[in-house]
Every structure is written in structure tokens, then in C-alpha cells.
């Protein structure tokens, strides 16, 4: 029953979004299709909520549904404000990926999610971070391109404007993700900041981009040092994302998601 409705909702979202990708020129129709796909997931979540008699926030499969719902919304808002087409398609693709994972693993709807993660904060915390990482990754690609142009001696100042805006958007999401995490931690564990290794590295990442923003603000006409700061900040971000688990400090982290909380 629930499964059939899921297939219907996911099918509507997938087809409207695929259709939207093929008619990028007709903006009104395209946006309508995108919103229809989002609405279809929203309706399914509402249906699930009513039929389960509780907020569907308890299993990994349910959590993925929320990702699939919020990702295109934020993607659409960002596109609406900044006209970056790629972020809209990126968010739609990620959303479809989450729906697809749920389709491949029906049992995930009943899979374990430890009690500490069963919180309304879980989804916003992760979704906002997904966006922060997307923008910051894009900004670092711009930085690498800029450094290459610099190496060739033909750096175009316009590229810096692109990098700046991407960093500003990414940094605002990064800050929100960090603060959502802090508020959640206070609600769940009794303190908003415990210097858990993942938190520590998230904070270092935040500081890295903070340096970039200030440096750019003060020296808008000097590019090379800023580009290197941006490239370095992304290395730190990668450490925070993947590398933390391999550091000596990580064995005491709550963010490693091992069996024992």
C-alpha cells in the first residue's frame, strides 16, 4: 500500500523533472514541472505521516524522503535568486538519487536509525550541509581554473566574481549547518559544542573560508593569494568530510556512525 504510493510519487517526480531537464528554455513550464515534482513528494510524505500516525523521521528511508523533498526546494530557491541553472539540476539529480536508493532498498523504510538521530534537526542539518559542500566544491573548481589561468598569465578578473559569490552562498549554508548542528546537539546531548573531531574540523573549514572572505573584502584587486586560500580551504573541507575518520583523534567521535553510539 505505502509502497505503491511511493512508486507513484517517485514516478511523478522523476518524470516531471526529466521532462523539465529537456525544456530548459521555456522557463515557466520548466519551473511548473519542477514544483509539481516537489509537490508529489510532499503529498507522499503527508500521506506517510498520516498512515504511520507519527512523523516519518525514524528510519533511514524516511530520512531520505525528506532529503528528496528539501533538496529541490533549496535548489529552486537558490536558482530563483541567483539564476544558477546548474544548482537546480544538481539538487534535482541528488533528490532523484535519494528516491532511487529508496526504490532499490524497500527494506530501508524499516531500517534502524539510532534514537539520537531521530530528530527534526537531522534533515535540515544534513540538507544544508549538502548545499554548502556543493557551492564550496564549485568555488574550488573556479579557484583551480583561476590558478591555471594565472599560471598561463591570462587571469580574468571576472572569474573572481564567480568564486566570491559561490563562496558567499556556500559559507552562508555552512554557517547554518554548523549552527543547526549546535542547536540539535543542545537538544539531544545537553551541550551545543563538545569539540568532537568532526565538529573541530567543521570549525576549521569554517575558519578557512572566513579568511578567504575577509582577504577578498580587503584586497579585491589581488587574486593570487586569495585563490590559494580558496584551494587550501577546500583541502580542509575534504579532510572534514572524508579524512576525519583516519585521524588519530577520530576514535572518540560521535560522527563516525559506527554500530555503538
Amino acid at each position: 500500500m505505502i509502497w505503491n504510493h511511493f512508486l507513484l510519487a517517485a514516478g511523478i517526480s522523476a518524470s516531471t523533472w526529466l521532462l523539465a531537464a529537456f525544456i530548459p528554455k521555456r522557463e515557466l513550464v520548466r519551473n511548473g514541472l519542477v514544483l509539481t515534482g516537489i509537490a508529489s513528494i510532499a503529498i507522499f510524505i503527508g500521506f506517510l505521516w498520516i498512515s504511520l500516525g507519527r512523523p516519518p523521521l525514524r528510519t533511514l528511508g524516511e530520512t531520505r524522503l525528506w532529503y528528496a523533498f528539501f533538496l529541490p526546494i533549496i535548489g529552486f530557491l537558490t536558482y530563483w535568486r541567483w539564476r544558477y541553472n546548474w544548482i537546480l539540476y544538481y539538487s534535482l539529480a541528488l533528490s532523484l538519487l535519494f528516491l532511487f536508493i529508496n526504490y532499490m532498498h524497500p527494506e530501508n523504510f524499516s531500517k534502524t536509525l539510532m534514537p539520537a538521530l531521530q530528530s527534526p534537526w537531522f534533515v535540515p542539518h544534513v540538507v544544508v550541509y549538502i548545499f554548502a559542500y556543493a557551492f564550496l566544491a564549485a568555488s574550488s573548481l573556479v579557484a583551480i581554473r583561476g590558478l591555471y589561468q594565472e599560471y598561463k598569465g591570462q587571469l580574468q578578473p571576472k572569474i573572481m566574481l564567480m568564486a566570491d559569490n559561490l563562496v558567499y552562498l556556500g559559507f552562508s549554508f555552512l554557517t547554518l549547518g554548523l549552527l543547526f548542528g549546535a542547536l540539535w546537539a543542545k537538544e539531544a546531548w545537553g551541550h551545543y559544542w563538545t569539540w568532537d573531531p568532526k565538529e573541530t574540523w567543521a570549525f576549521i573549514t569554517w575558519l578557512g573560508y572566513l579568511v578567504y572572505i575577509h582577504r577578498r573584502h580587503q584586497m579585491p584587486s589581488k587574486f593570487k593569494s586569495s585563490l590559494w586560500i580558496l584551494a587550501l580551504a577546500f583541502v580542509i573541507l575534504l579532510i572534514c568530510w572524508f579524512g576525519v575518520n583516519y585521524l588519530p583523534s577520530a576514535q572518540y567521535s560521535v560522527h563516525t556512525y559506527s554500530q555503538q553510539p
Partner: protein, 418 residues
């Protein structure tokens, strides 16, 4: 950097002076840590932290009035000084991110410089005061004269200042204690992480501890090592009624499954009894179509577990179920004679008399039969100020998202690389 045009420490100061200041501060901090150690200062508690905070704010205001017309104010409220302070903090936090923050018994360079407890070390204290000072100068400079267009800037910067200031000063007043509640007993004392007991201005009676578990999972283990066999993923599959699944090279069929059961004779029966454990009758079919059938159970604190040997090398077993949710039905008594009935659950805390009560844990060896509930009680009188700061930063972030890059586009487009 104006190295070529002016000598060091000659006004106006820039990046070189900023980094040297930060470096000097760190060196003095580490030197003090190495010689005096942090034994000389403890955490400051109410009312001393309030006084210290007041004095600090007063000092910032005083310094501002003394130097606001001088060029050094421009430096202290400027970007090079900010970047220097941020970099100094980054160095310390990177050390913290690499070296485990745990007590180490043997003396060495790591312990004597405080690398393993950085948040309580002198250089960390210094850098935070310095950062708050610089950030304070920055905020004051943007605050006066008051301009409405600066509201986003003020939100993010002042928000950060308030957060760091109140979290730092409030840390001495933060109390995180635990209480062990046993069903039908009243508990009025809590213990800290050193095992010292304290009396609380409230008492809690545990009326009922409730716990739901997920179904246990099927897993294959190596008979000789006892370790989980993980040739393919997923290596564990949750048991359900009439489940037919593929686990590595075997097809497993669940013929019968009981959430609580007991073994009587050669099979298990569904029973409700203290300590009754899950059990399942499974059929395991290998790729050569050999079928082995038998009972498995994960056991409990008073019942043995049972696995099924499928060949010389492997056995199939049932894992101990994981908790789905657990909660405590409690009565909370306060000195004014009030009694409140509450349900405490993970992620759902309850506040009474300035204490926040969190569901933390239970007797895990007893599983669903636990009659003990462990709760954490937290008193954090400065929390409201930290939250004000956090919400200001959130508003600042949304502003930043909407506004986008403020970097002077004209100057960028006319800029030269270097």
C-alpha cells in the same frame, strides 16, 4: 602588505604586524603553559565570571574611547588584525583536530604544552580574548555611527561575539550531571563525571521505563574467529515474518519468528516471560541446494544464545536487537511541593527549575527488561545568551545568502593579478 614602503611596526600596521602579534601571543601562552601550567587558574564560576565579563566589556569600551581617533584603532578594527587572530585560532584548532583530546598519564611535550586539553590551555584562552577584543573593535566601528544598511554585518559579527563571549564565560557555570533512576524509587541526587554526588533542587521518581527494539538481524560469522563475515553488502538483514533473503551465497528463509520466546524441548515457543528473547526458525539453502534448518536466538541476560552451523567455516546467527526508542515515565518533585508527570525521551528533554533533563541511557545488558533509566541533568544559565548569538548569526547567514558577494566588483574587474 607594504613591506617595501615601510619598516616593521611603523604606522600604519598591516599583515606583518598582525601575524607577529598573534605569534607572540601564542608563544607567551605556550611558555606560560609550559612553566606555570594550567594548575594556576581554575574555571571561574558565578558571580566572578559575570564580574570578569563586565570588566572585559568595560575595558573594550575604555580602549575604544582612548584610541578611537588614533591609527591603531583602524588596525585593531581592520581586516589584517582579524585574519591574524583567525589564523592563530585556526592553528590551535588544527592541533586539537589532530591530537586526541583525552587525558594522558605519561608526561611529555604533548601534555606539558597542553596539546591534549587545548580548550583549557593558556594559549587558547589568550587567543580567544584577543579574538573577542578584535571582533569587539570591529563591531564598535560598524555600530557607530548607526547605519541601517549595516544590520546584516552587525548580526553576524555581534552574534559571533555574543556566542563566543557567553559560551566561554558560561562554561564555568555549566553543570552536566547524571542520575540513575530505578523503577518506583525516588532519586534526588546526581553525580558528575568524577563520581561526586550532589543534591539537586528536584527529585525524580521513575514510574515506568519503556523501550522498543528493532527486530534482530541475521548475520553470518566465521566459526574460528567469531567475526562477522562481510563478503558482500549488506552483511546483516533484519528479520521479519516470512522473510526470504539472500545473504552472501546463501538463501535464508525465516519460517517462524517470535519477538519474545523460550526454548521448550527441541523448539522455541512464543512466551511472555522475564528475559524471554527473540528466536527464529530458519532454513539456509546453499548454492549447491543443500538445506540446513534450525533455530537461532540472540539470547538475553538470562537465556543462552543459539546459532546454527551451516558448514565447517560459517554459522548463521541472530544479532542482539538495537533500541528503536526508549523513554521514561517520571514524576518530578520540586521543593515548592509541585509534582509533574512527564515522559523523557531521547531528543525530547524537559526543563524544570532551570535544570534540563535528558534521557540518556538504560541498563543495556538487560535490554527491554531494563528497570533502570539513566538521565542527564544539565544546568546552563548562560544558554539564553548563546542562543541569542546563534540566532543573530543565523539571520546574518540568511542575509549573506540573499545578498551574495559584497566584494567591490569595480575594483575586482579593474584588478591586477598578484
Amino acid at each position: 602588505m607594504n613591506k617595501n614602503t615601510k619598516s616593521l611596526w611603523q604606522s600604519p600596521w598591516g599583515y606583518s604586524e598582525s601575524f607577529l602579534l598573534t605569534l607572540g601571543l601564542l608563544l607567551i601562552g605556550f611558555a606560560l603553559e609550559f612553566t606555570v601550567g594550567n594548575a594556576s587558574f581554575g574555571t571561574i564560576v558565578f558571580p566572578y565570571n559575570l564580574i570578569a565579563g563586565g570588566v572585559y566589556i568595560f575595558l573594550i569600551a575604555l580602549v575604544y574611547f582612548l584610541i578611537r581617533k588614533k591609527t591603531v584603532f583602524k588596525f585593531l578594527s581592520g581586516i589584517p588584525a582579524s585574519i591574524g587572530a583567525i589564523s592563530g585560532l585556526s592553528i590551535l584548532v588544527v592541533i586539537m583536530g589532530i591530537i586526541p583530546q583525552i587525558p594522558i598519564e605519561e608526561k611529555g611535550i604533548v601534555t606539558s604544552l597542553g596539546f591534549n586539553r587545548l580548550t583549557t590551555s593558556i594559549p587558547f584562552l589568550f587567543i580567544n580574548f584577543y579574538l573577542l577584543f578584535i571582533l569587539g573593535m570591529v563591531v564598535i566601528r560598524k555600530l557607530f555611527p548607526v547605519k541601517w544598511k549595516n544590520w546584516g554585518f552587525i548580526c553576524s559579527h555581534l552574534g559571533l561575539w555574543i556566542t563566543v563571549f557567553s559560551a566561554g564565560l558560561g562554561s564555568g557555570d555549566l553543570q552536566r550531571l547524571r542520575m540513575d533512576l530505578n523503577e518506583n524509587q525516588i532519586e534526588g541526587r546526581a553525580y558528575d563525571d568524577k563520581g561526586n554526588y550532589l543534591d539537586l533542587p528536584l527529585a525524580i521518581k521513575l514510574n515506568d521505563f519503556k523501550i522498543e527494539e528493532f527486530h534482530p538481524k541475521l548475520a553470518i560469522v566465521d566459526n574460528t574467529t567469531g567475526s562477522l563475515y562481510e563478503a558482500t553488502k549488506p552483511s546483516m538483514i533484519m528479520i521479519e515474518d516470512d522473510l526470504i533473503c539472500q545473504l552472501h551465497d546463501w538463501t535464508i528463509i525465516v519460517d517462524e519468528f517470535f519477538v519474545t520466546s523460550g526454548r521448550i524441548g527441541d523448539r522455541y515457543y512464543s512466551i511472555i516471560d522475564f528475559g524471554a528473547a527473540p528466536a527464529a526458525k530458519v532454513r539456509v539453502i546453499s548454492h549447491t541446494k543443500d538445506t540446513i534448518s534450525g533455530w537461532i536466538s540472540c539470547g538475553s541476560f538470562n537465556r543462552p544464545h543459539e546459532s546454527l552451523k551451516i558448514d565447517e567455516r560459517f554459522s548463521v546467527l541472530m544479532t542482539v536487537p538495537e533500541p528503536k526508542r526508549f523513554s521514561s515515565e517520571v514524576s518530578i518533585f520540586t521543593p515548592d511541593g509541585q509534582k509533574q508527570e512527564q515522559t523523557l525521551e531521547v531528543n525530547k528533554s524537559f526543563t524544570v527549575n532551570g535544570w534540563k533533563i535528558y534521557q540518556l541511557s538504560y541498563d543495556e545488558t538487560m535490554g527491554i527488561y531494563s528497570t533502570k533509566s539513566v538521565v542527564e541533568v544539565v544546568k546552563d544559565p548562560w544558554q539564553i545568551f548563546v542562543y541569542i548569538g546563534i540566532f543573530m548569526m543565523m539571520i546574518g547567514s540568511v542575509y549573506m545568502f540573499w545578498r551574495g558577494s559584497k566584494v567591490k566588483n569595480e575594483e575586482t574587474l579593474n584588478g591586477i593579478s598578484g
